[in-house]
Every structure is written in structure tokens, then in C-alpha cells.
Symmetry: C2
Subunit: 209 residues, 2 copies
DNA sequence: CTTTTTACATGCAACTCTGTATGGATATGT
DNA sequence: ACATATCCATACAGAGTTGCATGTAAAAAG
């Protein structure tokens, strides 16, 4: 055993920072946020608590950094499918944005971090996960309402369905499916079920030809 | 200050047990399960940790007792609306069972305990809240599938909708709405939005006359 | 090459929480 | 009335975690 390992290069330091965040994901997901100590995270990454306290101020700061690696604003999803042919097909734009989101959530990192945020952490320190979830929900619902409003103006929606109702239906359905899937993702594929759900919902909501 | 308060009557003991559970609901909801100590619960109830350890073995046991006060198996909801006229109207039976469940969730105790179970606790000790949620979800979804299957056999469903798909749609929608509402119940009434959602979904899923 | 800063490891004091052991006073059974 | 079991308060030992302070070897700056 060496006397004391010492300073790494800047690239190595960045690598240990990522390793600490990876380790945090692992143990947060396995034991929950509250029950994992900083020493468990450090040992999982092959480090000691000294490394953790150098890179982060405390557990809340580490948690925030972990979330920052998977920031996925809804607006990004819309911009990624920015096809000018879709301005007159808002329902198809919604469909593609949803599928884009489902594809992202299948990536292990997104899935794991969201599972931690939704199912494996409580309020702690200066972090309020419910407030974060609220922000996400409000933003996505607002965006959906806008698109459904456009669809309504183009006479693409059933006459007995308001844009707000359509948006809430779609958002609740996907949110519920998301929650269920995050509990045990091996039970089914969220991409398949999500696609099926979005397709049928949009078909049911669309005005009959 | 008296030297040492001592033994209460059996009724008083049962009352303190209830008071401890009430206090646990309060603080669990406010601070989260992991961050609340047994002493905080005891003091909130005007007792000490001795009372807690007398009535419960540990925090997990207290948590389980708290959940036992709001056990609401889906079958109960169906039995409560056991109207023989509904055996030939399975869609109406589903609707009434859902409304019955929504009405229950509006009761403060049900709402608070479910908010704790879903949003304010992680895995701890011998308690796995995700497994409990899974049980609830599986049971309710299974019951919905049975009823939608009957509806399908009676030609009450659209021909392009399978009973499984209908059940998953309804369950995900209500589950997502439930999660959103539990985050901040003052934002909207789950009874109104849930009723609206159930009505429109069933209308969309029903075969056109 | 020298100095300074970086990137950690190690050690320490303080705090919090748990579980249990003990004690006491009263309700309850007989 | 007496003995006993009940209901709860108090005290204590132990473990675990946090934040900081210190040490240190190498990288980076000059």
C-alpha cells in the first residue's frame, strides 16, 4: 500500500468526479438517497470522503450535480424534431416529441436518475424533489396545451374535447406509465407501451375523417 | 411538573397509540420519513420515545401500522357498488368504482398517507414502498382488465381497442393524475378532474352507437 | 527549477439516532 | 386488598455520519 496517493492531472480529476457521480447513481438507486452515506459513495468509486468533499460541498450539492447531467427540458425535444412540415400537423408534432422523450428515457442514465428523483429520494437539505417534478410537469403540460390549441384551431380535434382536457389526458397517461415503468423497468418496454398509448390516445382524440 | 406520569387505562393507551400514528403522519408528510426521528414523533404527540417503543418495535413497524389504517383494496370499491343491475353494464361499473376511489382519496387521512407512501419515503429497513405500490397497481390493473374483457365480450368497446389496452390507459391516466395531485393537492380537485378524465376516456373507448 | 496550487487521504470532534435496560405508578385481575 | 401486568418516562451505551482541519505528493504556474 502506497503511503499517500496524491494529486492527479486535471483530466483525471474530472474522471474521478464523474466516477463519484456514477457511484452515487448506483447506490442512490439501490439504497435510496437518505440511507446512503458519502463514504459509501466514495468507496464505490474507489475514493475516500476527501474526494467527495473536494468536488462537492455536501450531499445536496452532489445530488444537484447528478441531476444536472440529465437535464432534459421539454423544449429540447420539440426543437430536435423541428420539421417545418409539422407546423400544420400539430398532432403529429406532439406524437414525435413524445416518442423522442420515450427514446431518451430508455437510456440507462436517464432512467436511473429519474428513478432516483421520483422513487428513491425524499426532501433533504436544500433539495425538494417534488418542486422539481412540479416544474417538469407544469412545463410539459403547458407545451402540450399550446400544441393542442393549435390542433383545435385547425379542426383536428374532436369537437367535444378541449385542448386542456386533451393535454391533461396525454400528460397523465404518460406520467402514470412513466411512474409504473420506473418502479421495475424490466417488466415491460416503455417505448412499446408508450408508443401504443400515444398512438391510440391521439387516434381517439382526433376528429373522425 | 409531576414526578413521573404512569399507567393509563386501556382506552387511554389506545388513544395514545392513535395519537402517535397521527403525529407520524404529520411529520412524515412534512419532513419525509427518513429524516424524522422517533423522538420528533413522540414529542409531536406529547409523549416520549418510551411510548413509541412500547406500542411499536421500531420505525418500520410504526410505518406499517400507519399504512394499515388506510388499507383500501380495489375489491372493496367494487363490492361497495355491488349493484346487480351492473353485471350487464361493466363500463358503468368501472366508472362507479373509479369515482368511489376518487371520493375516498379526498379524505385527508387517505390523501396524506398515500402522499407519504408515494412521495415522502424511500426504502428503509424491512419496508419497500415500491413493492407495495406494485401490488396496488397490479391488483387494480388486473381487476380493470377483467371488467374491460366483459365489456369487450358484450361489444361495448371500440373494435380497435383491446381490453388490456383500455385497462392500461385508464390505470395510467388515473395513476398519473393521482401522482400529480398528491404533490400539491391544493392545485386542483382530484374529484373533478378525475371524474372528467374517467368520463371522457370511457366515452372515447366505447363503441359508437 | 522553484513556488504555488491542486487533488485528494487521513484523523478528529461533535452530533444525532437507535435500542434497550431500568424504574415507577397505576390500572386490572383475583 | 394484594399481586401483577401494563403503560410510559428516563437513562445509558453504542453505532453511524457529518464537517472540518491537517498532511502531502504531484501537477501546474512562474
Amino acid at each position: 500500500m502506497q503511503p499517500t496517493m496524491a494529486r492527479r492531472t486535471k483530466a483525471e480529476a474530472a474522471a474521478t468526479r464523474e466516477a463519484l457521480l456514477d457511484a452515487a447513481e448506483d447506490i442512490f438507486l439501490e439504497r435510496g438517497v437518505a440511507r446512503t452515506s458519502l463514504e459509501q459513495i466514495a468507496r464505490q468509486a474507489g475514493m475516500t470522503r476527501g474526494a467527495v468533499y473536494w468536488h462537492f460541498r455536501n450531499k445536496a450539492d452532489l445530488f444537484r450535480a447528478m441531476l444536472d447531467r440529465v437535464r432534459m427540458p421539454f423544449q429540447e425535444l420539440v426543437e430536435e424534431i423541428d420539421d417545418p412540415a409539422l407546423v400544420d400537423a400539430p398532432l403529429e408534432a406532439i406524437r414525435l416529441a413524445c416518442l423522442q422523450g420515450l427514446a431518451r428515457l430508455e437510456q440507462p442514465r436517464y432512467r436511473r436518475v429519474h428513478a432516483i428523483l421520483i422513487h428513491h429520494c425524499e426532501v433533504f437539505g436544500e433539495i425538494d424533489p417534488l418542486a422539481m417534478q412540479n416544474e417538469i410537469a407544469e412545463e410539459s403540460c403547458g407545451a402540450l396545451i399550446e400544441y393542442f390549441t393549435v390542433a383545435c384551431e385547425h379542426r383536428l380535434l374532436r369537437s367535444d374535447i378541449t385542448p386542456e382536457l386533451a393535454a391533461r389526458l396525454l400528460q397523465s397517461s404518460l406520467g402514470g406509465l412513466f411512474h409504473d415503468w420506473l418502479r421495475n423497468h424490466e417488466h415491460f418496454s416503455i417505448r412499446e407501451r408508450g408508443t401504443e398509448m400515444v398512438d391510440t390516445l391521439l387516434k381517439l382524440l382526433a376528429r373522425e375523417p
